[in-house]
């Protein structure tokens, strides 16, 4: 398969055929051709930033910091990428982990150790919502902020970023059917909050 950039104007292939795939680029990165990471950065930094922006209830600064962290880790841990994985699933997992680390740090700042982990999650969510409500008055974002984090994750992927249930299944290491059920529940939960009162 030709991997270098074809510049022949006669060919009518879609972009994907002109440009090497993510996985090909990542294989080159692993072979220490680090410039290929700049291409991956261009492909992914916007979607990853937007994913993190919605996961953090539109906290721009945090989303930018976390995006930075994702690409730093991508560079640092490039050898841990398995070619059998989909690159996209992998980078979203890095983003999910960076967000989880951030979330954990927030929790440590906010809660005392008498609370069990379940209460902690709920308190965290409402604290986020309260903090967020002032800055972002839109009803939708308020409702999203009240969802459990895992449901917000799946709605951002499915409805805001347009991933299919198959693609979400790849990312979350579950079947497409399970991803569909989770995504439906999340949408139902959002509907209930959105139209409550």
């Amino acid at each position: 398969m030709p991997v270098l950039l074809s510049t022949n104007p006669q060919t009518s292939f879609p972009v994907a055929d002109h440009y090497p795939s993510d996985d090909v680029l990542m294989a080159r990165v692993q072979a220490n051709d680090l410039d290929q990471l700049a291409v991956l950065f261009d492909r992914y930094h916007r979607p990853i930033f937007n994913y993190l922006l919605r996961r953090t209830n539109n906290d721009r600064e945090t989303a930018e910091d976390l995006t930075q962290t994702v690409f730093e880790r991508l560079l640092k841990y490039r050898t841990s990428y398995q070619p059998s994985q989909q690159f996209r699933a992998w980078i979203y997992q890095l983003a999910r982990n960076a967000h989880a680390d951030h979330w954990q740090r927030q929790q440590q700042l906010r809660t005392t150790d008498v609370l069990d982990s379940e209460q902690r999650g709920q308190l965290g969510a409402s604290a986020f919502a309260a903090q967020d409500a002032a800055e972002h008055s839109q009803h939708l974002y308020e409702a999203l902020a009240l969802l459990p984090d895992a449901q917000r994750d799946i709605l951002v992927l499915n409805r805001i970023q347009g991933f299919s249930y198959e693609e979400i299944g790849e990312q979350l290491a579950c079947s497409a059917g399970a991803a569909r059920v989770k995504a439906h529940r999340a949408l139902q939960a959002l509907r209930a909050i959105f139209f409550a009162s």
Binding site: L5, T7, P9, P14, V15, H18, Y19, N32, L34, D35, L37, A38, V39, F41, D42, H45, R46, P47, F49, N50, L53, R54, R60, A63, E64, T67, Q68, F71, E72, L75, L140, A143, L155, R159, I160, G162, A183, H184, L187, Q188, L190, R191, F194, F195
Partner: protein, 281 residues
């Protein structure tokens, strides 16, 4: 007259309502749900609400991250490359010139540009705009001296001693030091030269990012527009289009039209150019 639906009827279609709202069900199931909805106001309401909330989510516009993200990452990348090269290179290999063949031509062009800038028009412009009593007689001071130093580091032999990573660092810190309240800081012109002529695409990207921070200076939009017609690296092309769109730089439409039709531009670049045109027009 049909019976009122029982809670059990609702239960049997509950799992299908999201897919129904999304119009993803096969015909048979669609009919089944539709038949239930015809009798059940509660489920009808639910479908309306599901559609409303799904549409709101799908209407969330993507946000643009700060261009500094890219500069920072490219800097990190160059540092990592330098570290790799340092571990990989044998002592004698390190002596070999790390400079590509195009470098001489490039260095000459920057040097020429800088010389023109500092001895001629550029300096004159700056002096006119600076406090006239002091600037008329004093030797190169303040911003001008800084620009001179920067120019000698970023072009000619000075630059050949610096790694791409160092040049990226220099470009970023130079932009941070620019006094945006003064008109025509010569550093801006040095950065423009770097954007146009540095042999390393990542340095050119960093220069674009640095200039973007100085976009209040009218030379920046102009330079981005001009640069679009000479850059050949797709990453640089894509970034410039993005920045021009962010700046709502309508003077760029001619260049964008050319790029969108340019046969040897990558399809992804042509698409970005079309997107830019669509947004600017």
């Amino acid at each position: 007259m049909p019976d009122r639906p029982s809670p059990y009827d609702c239960f049997t279609v509950a799992d299908l309502l999201v897919d129904y709202a999304d119009q993803l069900l096969p015909p048979q199931q669609t009919e089944r749900v539709a038949a239930h909805l015809a009798q059940c106001p509660a489920c009808r309401e639910e479908v309306v609400q599901l559609r409303a909330v799904a549409q709101r989510l799908e209407a969330v516009e993507p946000a643009a991250p700060a261009p500094e993200l890219r500069t920072h990452f490219l800097q990190l990348l160059e540092q990592e490359k330098a570290a790799l090269a340092a571990t990989a290179a044998a002592p004698e290999a390190r002596v070999r010139p790390m400079w590509p063949q195009a470098a001489t031509r490039w260095a000459l062009r920057i040097a020429a540009g800088v010389a023109l800038l500092l001895t001629g028009i550029g300096l004159g412009q700056w002096n006119r705009s600076a406090d006239s009593s002091a600037a008329a007689t004093a030797p190169a001071a303040g911003p001008t001296r800084h620009a001179l130093q920067l120019a000698s580091s970023l072009s000619g032999e000075g630059a050949q001693r610096l790694s791409a990573s160092d040049r990226i660092q220099l470009v970023s810190s130079a932009a941070a030091a620019v006094d945006t309240t003064k008109a025509a800081d010569p550093v801006v012109q040095v950065l423009i030269n770097t954007l146009n002529f540095d042999p390393n695409a990542n340095v050119r990207l960093a220069a674009a990012g640095a200039l973007y921070r100085l976009r209040a200076d009218p030379r920046v939009g102009e330079a981005f527009t001009q640069s679009l017609s000479i850059q050949t690296d797709p990453n640089v092309q894509i970034l410039l289009i993005e920045l021009l769109v962010n700046m709502r730089e309508r003077r760029a439409t001619t260049q964008l039209e050319q790029l969108a039709r340019k046969p040897d531009a990558l399809p992804i670049v042509r698409q970005q150019a079309e997107y830019g045109l669509g947004t600017l027009l």
